[in-house]
Symmetry: C3
Subunit: 416 residues, 3 copies
């Protein structure tokens, strides 16, 4: 995963830009992508696809020609989607267009003005004191033009076309956690899931943040009813604990599986309802009239967020692996889970079906197998039972599979 | 409001009586009334309309002809609906028919025997010691005759014939809070609502307590299904805090609006479920098979209740105004409230519709407008949203009205 | 009840055995029984009826011919359903087949191997030290043969064929509480209920534990939908407090009536959900696909359980009486209970129907009769109302009966 991040992180990946397109191209060489192209000006529900933006050169000089700031030094030095400008301005006017981070005075902040139409630069806060002259020359050679918003889609067909969507965003120039880490983990999960025989169809979407999800969903409304659940992945490489933001519904099977696994597998994590931890593409999927329950898994917050300090130094392969494995386990449970339906009456004659579980073999299962048998009325899935009895999913699944083999339960997923 | 109270308070306003009829006549000169006349003996569900009652003279003499008590001194000196009597009785027998208030020994209590058929007098408790003789002459020249129970009804037609009933009772001779204050506030509210363009139809009913509501509803059963909510008003002039008694259902929109406004507008108030604060006409409207959710708003309890001390001295115009304004606000919300239904998909592009709310303009709305947009699925009214988000009703209404103008929501009240 | 217990307790009442059959025969002389005979080998859902078992002689000798243990001394000395054996075994092998109770070293434990196919003896733990020789002769002359599992059924027809089942088990040789006490109490209840005019049909079942209920229900599946509730009775003679184990549903009318009466009538009792106190025939009735809500009433736990100390010494007629009366009261309420449906509108004119209750006569009823009248919408039974208002069932019943006589409510049981 670190290779992908290293190759792409410093690119000028603005929401509609050559850098974004090149990055999508790069990913399509690892996993095949269908590239959706939605032209500037396309109406996406209440939104409109903006123009493509590029910048060739940008700098601030004093009137003696000394270069005070140069885009060449760092892609974040210019505000994303800044208007072009070529003008001598007063110190006061310049300062109104200089963005800094008071919290991290040595870092360049990430600023964007997708819809506000303004120009601006970003610099380290501790460099502000160098602006002592009365006038400065500001120059931004940026261009707005018709272009195509691009969304990369990788699909792994399952037995059903009920779909689980995994979404990450590929934009944000020169930043790593937000959200190249989500992209990298997503790509690795796609590779792993592609090798399996899945029940669900899995769709991996690589989008420019928010507008990408809006463009994709609004132009593909027929897909929405098929998406049963979604997971938004971002900011997974830093050293904070995992944060689970629940879906808008808050208690879907996916929400409960994610919480169940985080409790069992992680030393520590935090959890919050919809809109209390992050606000990204999951707002679109969970949005009114879309109503796809989408959880968000991140390691938000972290102090380097939206600055030039969100770079390779704060990301580790090991943490990406931990996140990846967690999500693979979530998918494992949701994919294998099914509703068993009782085909017997009365308590089962255990010894007659070799169903007795010795407490020395599996104490948890020994204590609970009677309770499992009382929960096979067709209104609970295997996971529901495991969650309710606070048991290992695989233990309940194994026991229920034995019952299925003995024709004591019917697998409602296979008979749907 | 004080003028009406001063003009009517000392009248002999027994439940079916000339005094009651004159008072109704007085009100009909302020707001037009339809007078319902229900004759004595009419069956009203399980009840029967009693006879009209009047009393010309009533006194107690000692056998030397000294007048110990005289009805002329105060209308409360005789028990309402007392049987006539003209007899010399022993001191013991007399005492059994003398009613006093131990708690307020200097006040004459209000007693009534509508259905018990008995005779009696009411006097100050501290005068009991004056009854030192062995025998007394008791005289009550009262009359029972066929008459008409009268209910005054003032109707303000709205866009719909869904109705809100405001009920107060005009009986109780020589008392003010109970319930001339409810009548006076009701009349003023009727005047105010008559000047507005209302959605609901408003019905103001002036009744003799309990039997009046029973008579009106049982003789007009077709009206019952139209009455969506009711408010019973009484005892509003004394200096106690407001008391909100919830409807039998306890959680209707009206209950919640009344609680919401009392919390926001009053320094202090108390609240209790049905039958824990008062028991009056709201028992009939909330009664089995009638099932109109009727709240009661009063300033109960107060120490002068049901005595001659419930007079002009303990009532203030300012407190009546406060009650009136509270109820007008309740009616304002319930009348303007409607169910907005989302017509958009996904998060709204706020800047595109001029919907962005700056936190410097309205912090509460800025923090909540996203939540408002997540609550437009057609299962909540504007008030429900305001209540849930603990916001000003007018702020939510204003924001939803903007959405309506932009055709992003449908007003379900106007499209019903 | 003690007579029945004295006559039967020491019998060899194994699950399918002559002792069991004789005991059933004994009961059928007190109350008529229909005897169901289900042959060995019959498939009962997932179970199979085992063979009949008998034992003529069983002993352990040392090789000098000294008798160390003899079945003649106590029926519990041999494991129920032990295989036959006639062999000289080493001390080590013998000890593996000797069962004792560490908790009660002077008592012989009760052991059974219905499905495990093994041989064994039971002795007092403090006699283990007498086994000092190297080899012993073990002899068990037991026989397995085709037979009939027997279930005794006593039915008292009611107005409806909706049925309440009272179940106790007649097996467990030489033990008293478990469960001859349940049987004795059951027989006495049957005698009492037989003298009454009942609404429900009552079925008393005397079974061998678990397999008896399974055999009866699986061979009489048409009876199951008629059984509305069940009560399992056992271990009622010892001096522990009553224990109420709720049905699987946990909140049926029967559960609530039992709890209500235990709270009102007993100084002390304990209560637990299904499967937290006992596990007997109520597991079958409450079992998946059977779903008869069956509570269990016992005095479990008690220290003599499943040993030779569970004998006549620890049982008292008085405690059996107390249990019997409690259960008769439960049946009294459930049988008399019905759903009253309001036929009036508005508050009732109490004096007109002689419904006024003076607080001096019945304070509880005086305080609650208005609430009773608000609960007659046809969604609550008389017991529901009594339970909700925390009132005596008979008081509520009496008041509702008055309303019924005045045609103010309809009895929904009689009009069903």
């Amino acid at each position: 995963m670190m290779q992908l991040i290293k190759d792409l992180w410093f690119k000028r990946r603005d929401i509609i830009s050559d850098g974004f397109d090149e990055s999508l191209e790069y990913i399509s060489k690892i996993i095949p992508l269908k590239i959706h192209e939605i032209p500037s000006g396309t109406k996406c529900w209440t939104w409109t696809v903006p123009e493509k933006w590029s910048v060739k050169e940008a700098y601030i000089n004093d009137l003696d020609g000394n270069r005070i700031l140069d885009l060449k030094d760092h892609p974040l030095h210019v505000v994303s989607y800044s208007l072009p400008i070529d003008k001598v301005v007063s110190r006061e006017e310049l300062l109104e267009h200089l963005h800094t981070s008071k919290e991290r005075p040595e870092a360049i902040p990430f600023e964007f003005k997708y819809y506000e139409k303004d120009w601006g630069f970003c610099i380290q806060d501790n460099k502000l004191k160098e602006f002592t002259k009365d006038k400065y020359k500001v120059f931004i050679d940026s261009k707005f033009e018709k272009g195509d918003l691009k969304v990369g889609e990788h699909t792994i067909k399952g037995k059903t076309d009920k779909t689980i969507a995994l979404v990450s965003h590929l934009c944000h120039p020169a930043q790593v956690n937000d959200d190249l880490t989500g992209v990298a983990v997503s790509v690795d999960i796609a590779k792993a899931m592609g090798k399996k025989d899945n029940y669900y169809t899995y769709k991996f979407l690589f989008v420019p943040e928010t507008i990408g999800s809006l463009a994709y969903l609004s132009q593909n409304e027929d897909v929405i009813p098929k998406i049963e659940y979604g997971i938004f992945l971002e900011m997974l490489g830093n050293d904070n604990i995992h944060a689970l933001q629940l879906s808008r519904q808050g208690d879907t099977r996916l929400d409960r599986i994610a919480r169940y696994l985080m409790k069992r597998n992680l030393k520590n994590f935090k959890e919050g309802p919809f809109r209390t931890i992050v606000g990204n593409d999951e707002m679109v999927f969970n949005g009114p009239g879309v109503d796809v329950p989408m959880i968000s898994i991140s390691r938000y917050p972290y102090p380097e967020y939206h600055t030039s300090d969100d770079n390779l130094d704060i990301v580790s392969e090991q943490r990406l692996e931990e996140s990846k494995n967690l999500i693979l386990e979530i998918l494992n449970i949701i994919d294998k889970d099914f509703t068993p339906k009782r085909q017997f009456k009365g308590p089962i004659f255990l010894s007659g079906y070799d169903l007795w579980v010795d407490w020395r073999e599996n104490l948890e299962l020994n204590r609970n197998f009677e309770k499992i048998m009382l929960n096979l009325e067709g209104d609970k899935t295997v996971f529901d039972i495991a969650d309710e009895l606070n048991m290992k999913f695989e233990d309940v699944l194994g026991f229920v599979n034995k019952l299925e083999k003995a024709k004591l339960v019917l697998n409602m997923k296979n008979n749907e």
